[in-house]
């Protein structure tokens, strides 16, 4: 007998973690039109820092804070490379992600690090129930969503939106394009690093290769989210859940495992065909 609730819980929990990355990619790719590959590295360094802090016996909440800071630094690095050294945005992100691979390994100490149970965030925070992980992850996911929604409504957020559609306007208003770009990259990578830290606590171990595919995952999540809505909202979280959900369906249907990726691609195309928005609107942006 299949425990559907357990199944859904697992998919949702993973979706909540990755929703932070999807929000981050929304901020960079959609708001400021900067495709940021740094997220792949930030996810890793966030996990590495969390693992390192766990081994050193830090409070898991403090560990998350340190993880977020490491993500912010990664974002700043990419921003400086892109704006001050005028390196192409994608390449800047790639450079930082490559560097972070080595940094993550050094910080974590080894390619695979187990998080001791007493240092695990989910064992220290919240109520020790079966649903603890779910509640915490859902809270963080929605919390991040509401934070970014609020941010985009502020003066600061409006500058970011303007930066994305017409950087010249920022110059006309006497504002610093570099500053806003770096600030956005910092926020986005801080969120991603937080996701990485949560992932490491969720799986109870850090793996050096655990961050591979994060950017693609997030882009796919963003694409799915656009099916439901263009604006930043619950659609983002639904989009982040869609990919693991699709994968789960292919597993459950016991389809030929070699064809899994092909089937997911076909399912993605089918879902995208249901997209309400016409192609014209996308081009106009």
């Amino acid at each position: 007998m299949l425990d559907i609730i357990e199944l859904c819980k697992g998919v949702l929990e993973l979706g909540f973690i990755y929703s932070l990355v999807v929000i981050a990619v929304f901020l960079t790719s959609k708001i400021i039109s900067f495709d940021d590959l740094t997220v792949e590295g930030s996810f890793g360094i966030g996990g590495a820092v969390a693992a390192c802090c766990a081994l050193w016996g830090f409070n898991p909440l403090v560990a998350i804070l340190f993880s977020i800071m490491s993500g912010i630094l990664a974002g700043i690095a990419t921003g400086l490379l892109a704006r001050k050294l005028n390196i192409n945005g994608l390449i800047s992100g790639l450079i930082v992600t490559t560097a972070l691979f080595s940094v993550s390994k050094k910080v974590a100490g080894s390619a695979m690090v187990t998080i001791p149970a007493d240092a695990n965030l989910f064992n220290c925070v919240g109520i020790p129930t079966h649903l603890n992980k779910f509640i915490i992850l859902a809270s963080v996911s929605f919390g991040a969503l509401f934070f970014v929604k609020w941010l985009l409504r502020t003066e600061f957020g409006s500058m970011l939106k303007a930066l994305g559609c017409n950087p010249q306007l920022l110059t006309n208003l006497g504002k610093n394009i570099n500053g806003y770009t770096i600030a956005t990259l910092s926020i986005a990578n801080g969120l991603t690093a937080c996701a990485g830290a949560l992932f490491v606590n969720y799986t109870s171990f850090f793996s050096l290769t655990g961050n591979i595919g994060t950017f693609i995952y997030a882009l796919a999540g963003l694409m799915f989210a656009e099916i439901f809505s263009d604006k930043l909202g619950v659609a983002i979280i639904l989009g982040a859940i869609a990919y693991p959900a699709l994968y789960m369906i292919t597993i459950q249907l016991q389809l030929d495992p070699d064809l899994t990726k092909l089937i997911i691609a076909l399912l993605m195309v089918t879902m995208l065909l249901f997209k309400r928005k016409s192609i014209k609107h996308v081009a106009m942006r």
Binding site: L151, R153, T154, E155, F156, G157, S158, M159, K161, A162, G164, C165, N166, Q168, L169, L170, T171, N172, L173, G174, K175, N176, I177, M284, R285
Partner: protein, 254 residues
């Protein structure tokens, strides 16, 4: 007062501007004309800071701003472009754009944009915009990229002159507009500029406009100033300015 002193701009060996010097006094309205490629837009770029001159200096009220960044100059030098989308954020609504323009010269905080400037935007719409665009209320929640070019350019003008700049650069603002919208914008702009006494420079290809607006005429050709004409250009026949500019004819009539 703006002084352009021996400005030369070279792009990969091609001289866009050669040893340009001119003075724009406070309250002047200078019209800049010339054939395509004569360096009119480049001159504006140098003044606004988009392009760095290879040689020469720019002075604003006797302060050397040659090394001042474009964004710092933007607080004192306003600019409107031929491309109606360049002076606003196309993805944001009209109301948001107006609120954004209020942020010039102010520290950016984390207050809600629309709440912080609700009153000011309301006043702006009632006092200045509604007389010229009566249906502004319908447009407030439209993305500014979707409204008509004429309306967008008017709003861009309002945004650029919210805090009257020391110098206003209008780079063929009506070139992409239909004649009706163009006239509307120009009448509005002229009235506003006269009222607020804003020092203005205008680039245009329209000979009739060149002769009917402003108090000075600057003629550029191949990166040099061919002629400068002071007050009263009424004697120049507009036909002399069409296509290749006949400078002798201008000189004769002036």
């Amino acid at each position: 007062m703006v002084r352009v002193d021996s400005i030369t701009v070279d792009f990969d060996g091609v001289s866009a501007l050669s040893n340009i010097s001119t003075v724009v006094n406070n309250g002047d309205f200078v019209v800049v004309v010339g054939p395509s490629g004569s360096g009119k837009t480049t001159l504006f770029d140098v003044i606004s800071g988009t392009v760095n001159p290879s040689q020469g200096s720019i002075f604003l009220d006797d302060i050397d701003i040659t090394d001042v960044s474009e964004k710092k100059r933007a607080c004192h030098i306003g600019r409107l472009f031929q491309n109606t989308h360049l002076s606003s954020a196309p993805c944001m609504t009209v109301a948001e754009n107006l609120a954004l323009a209020m942020c010039k010269d102010k520290r950016i905080g984390v207050h809600s944009l629309m709440c912080a400037y609700k009153k000011e935007v309301s006043e702006l719409i009632n006092n200045i915009i509604r007389p010229i665009i009566p249906n502004i209320d319908e447009l407030l929640d439209c993305p500014i990229g979707r409204i008509s070019g004429g309306q967008r350019q008017i709003i861009s003008f309002v945004m650029a002159t919210l805090k009257p700049p020391r110098l206003l650069l209008l780079d063929e603002p009506t070139a992409a507009l239909d004649p009706q919208s163009a006239t509307k914008l120009l009448l509005f702009a002229q009235e506003f500029i006269a009222k607020k006494k804003i020092t203005t420079m205008l680039i245009t290809h329209d000979p009739h406009l060149a002769l009917s607006i402003g108090n000075k005429l600057l003629v550029l050709d191949k990166g040099v100033i061919k002629s400068e004409f002071g007050q009263d250009k009424r004697n120049i026949s507009p036909d002399n300015l069409i296509g290749q500019i006949d400078y002798q004819a201008i000189a004769k009539n002036f």
